[in-house]
Amino acid sequence: MAAMTREETQNLIAEVLAVYPEKAKKDRAKHLMVNDHSLESAKKCITSNRKALPGVMTIRGCAYAGSRGVCWGPVKDVVHISHGPVGCGMYSTMGRRHYANGTTGADIFTTINVTSDFQERDIVFGGDKKLKAMIDELEKLFPLAKGYTIQSECPIGLIGDDIESVAKVKSAEIGKTIVPVRCEGFRGVSQSLGHHIANDSIRDWVLPTRDGKDDGFETTPYDVNILADYNIGGDIWPSRMLLEEIGLRVIAQTPGDGTLMEMEKLPKAKLNLLHCYRSMNYIARHMEEKYGTPWMEYNLFGPTKIEQSLRAIAERFDDRIKDGVERVLAKYKPQWQAVVDKYRPRLEGKTVMLYVGGLRPRHIIGAYEDLGMKVVGTGYEFAHNDDYDRTIKEMGDATLIYDDVTAYELDEFVKKINPDLIGSGIKEKYQFQKMGFPFRQMHSWDYSGPYHGYDGFAIFARDMDMTLNNPCWTEIKAPWLRPAQPETQAA
């Protein structure tokens, strides 16, 4: 459909909010905005990172999800203990496709789900003893694990167990890093605080372990870290290949396919490359303050953004890297040009609505635009103001931006805007597919991926084409509900 004017979008918001009671309407109106390029800061026109409104469906997670699932989950050579009742631990079993190289049980433990299975008894008498026994058992079961993280679930905070002291005692006893993470689910308004808590635990329990120790690690002027790339569907691998090809040395990739030792080495780098700003900017800021390591954001979705990002990274280094970037850009031009030539004619002019987590609603816009598609609405589950500041520049003027959108609002927006493709999470997937909208699950790349880098872009383009131009979408409507077709069959 044709692009909407500012007024039309404004009316759409008013129309959708009309069904709410006065108070709810007032609250929700603050979370919806029409994009305006003239704005410097999003603060005045969109409210974010606020408690979801009681009574509406939100799609957010909890602090435990943010820490156990997102920030710590992909660290592969550490056993993550879900400390608390069995449910949270159960549901965090590799629901997220952060891939890791290695052999499960020997050097990777990401697929293993460990929980202390809290019962009434543990609530009454405390669970510290159980936790100690558990670490001993894990030591026997997985002697090659490099450490443990204790991810607390709600009851731990409620009964006030001292997991920090258990961590200290056991860590001294077995000589391995044990990180207690106070990520009880009730903290904060969404998983975003869980990211922050996880970052703080890295700051307090992992980074300082090598402070002041010269461990003989040889550094080069080209050392960088990949921060906050979660290796969803293998995303970090093409990213790392690209960075290494331009001449940088990636000394740590964390957390995606990362190890505890890499995390300890983070301060040795010359530059932190931050992929998901929302979830790990805290640790990047901390390292800048404590170790003087500068950080920058980058984006490896789609050739346009890759070019911009690689050039921006090269600006921080000498001519060797700058030449490397030019060489890499020239090398891959034919490859991505072929992808664009193949898919752009099939996707040109199609519209997309996104509603994802913390960085994708703005990061993948460039990749869609490379394919000639237009993002007409975007929004975050748990973003903060600074994310919206960054989004305003990426999105087209007068497009719709929604924060912590409710199921009802998203439904109505989709019905009115009528996009050609929707990218959101698993909870929205079947609802929109039943409504007849082509849908991609953009949290885990719909069981595909990787989407980063030039190799990923080819997969991204194929997936979008495969979904959008799938013949099934014409068959969604029941035959008797379709508009009458002229009789073509001969008698």
Binding site: K43, N49, R285, E288, E289, N385
Partner: protein
């Protein structure tokens, strides 16, 4: 008394970042910004003002400092 991280952005301007408030704003002006002291009244790009006792010698940025809000 928010705890504020002050750092330089790519253009070399000072940024005022309060994690808990999601506030990241350029510092528009500082009362004392000389070779031997930094601080006093700090005005942000969006007009908010904060106060910190002048620090001597000036701190090395990035650093975390405690400011007072002036209303």
């Amino acid at each position: 008394m928010p705890s504020v991280m002050v750092r330089r952005n790519d253009e070399g301007k000072l940024l005022f970042y309060v994690a808990k408030k999601d506030l990241e704003e350029v510092i528009a002006s500082v009362e004392h910004d000389t070779a031997d002291a930094w601080g006093g009244e700090v005005t942000l790009g969006d007009g908010e003002t904060f106060y910190i006792d002048p620090i001597s010698p000036p701190p090395a940025f990035p650093t975390t400092l405690r400011f007072k809000r002036i209303d």
